[in-house]
Symmetry: C2
DNA sequence: AAAAATTGTTGACTATCGTCAATACTTTTC
DNA sequence: GAAAAGTATTGACGATAGTCAACAATTTTT
């Protein structure tokens, strides 16, 4: 149910069995079927969703109705719209499931309670955020400085698991390329130019 | 000296005068002349630098010696390489001053001491991180979904202060464009295509 | 099992961005 | 104050990514 979440918690902060039990009380688990929304543009994001099992994507839709994938999230990752989460303004992003998925979260409304008992929870979130921030910075570096070939090669080397589980045109979207261009990039990479 | 830093602190968390005094003891202030490095590729990043006055940029250098600007930081912003900061591995980024600059920081080694007295300091960092994360997510959205015209227009609307203080070719680098292309983009925007 | 939707590839063509080079102008440095 | 460095613009040209369209293969739906 929430084994992976606690594994990750224990990796980053030390927890007594008692503290763990208390956290367990506040946890909410949710199953999301493939193609169902976890968050829709217009909703307010009220939690940081930890992926216990499955895969999700966050994306925006532009004027022309085109989808642009901002982020994937697989087992052990966290996904949400922090902007909406912080401001309680409606989100401009959609999050939906790419596979049948199970997520875990502690509702924002329970954070204060949890932190009262486990002050380290704040540290945990900060550490997760720092790691996510670093990853995103690397992605920006790739986007502004690499060729499509290099960007894709980098992506494959860092996220081989995603390449295997997600349709190619979604990876193209994530990399800021058209599906056709990514198809040609791959051809060039595999046939050796 | 550190007025802006405390103003920002007080905006996000409540502080007694006593707590403020204690934090003041751990603060280090540093002046960096224009063109001087705050961090060089190869160094380990040991602090989150808060910009009290001035302007900095973080950038990477690719195989061809080309610079790519990852991030600007003006008054009230924080800049660092979180990857290196967390792992204590040598950084791959450079940070240098675009103007004579004054920064404030609490060395990583003093964090535990500070948090002992002001537990809220952890919350402060988390809030700053969330905001920075949101901004970066918007930037990625722009990079993968907008045309150069739109990306630049967005940049000008969000960071008018940067446009006025930073050379145009650096903004081009930040947006993933060549200086020539940005020059033409601007021409098209102002002369109406 | 058939129909529909999704996915990935390829070709022809076009629009756009990067490269190289020349120039003008401004700011910094000595 | 002269020389050097840094900055922005423009033109010509070539490379490359996007667009539109057709098609095959696979998966999902009914």
């Amino acid at each position: 149910m929430s084994a992976l979440f606690f594994k990750k918690l224990r990796e980053k902060i030390s927890l007594t069995t008692q503290e763990e039990e208390i956290i367990r009380r506040y946890i909410i688990s949710k199953k999301i079927r493939k193609k169902q929304y976890l968050l829709q543009a217009g909703d307010v994001c009220k939690a940081l969703a930890f992926v216990e099992q499955g895969a999700l994507r966050a994306y925006s839709v532009d004027d022309k109705g085109q989808e642009h994938i901002i982020r994937f999230a697989m087992e052990g990752w966290t996904i949400s719209d922090l902007d909406s989460f912080m401001t309680s303004e409606p989100s401009i992003y959609n999050i939906d499931a790419l596979e049948d998925t199970e997520i875990i979260f502690i509702p924002k409304s329970a954070w204060e309670e949890v932190k009262k008992v486990v002050p380290q929870y704040e540290l945990f979130i900060r550490l997760e955020l720092m790691a996510a921030y670093s990853d995103m910075q690397k992605r920006i570096t790739a986007l502004i400085s690499l060729t499509p070939e290099e960007t894709y090669t980098y992506f494959v080397s860092v996220y081989p698991c995603i390449v295997q589980r997600v349709p190619q045109h979604m990876i193209a979207s994530y990399l800021g390329l058209t599906p056709e261009t990514l198809s040609r990039v791959r051809k060039r990479l595999f046939t050796g130019k």
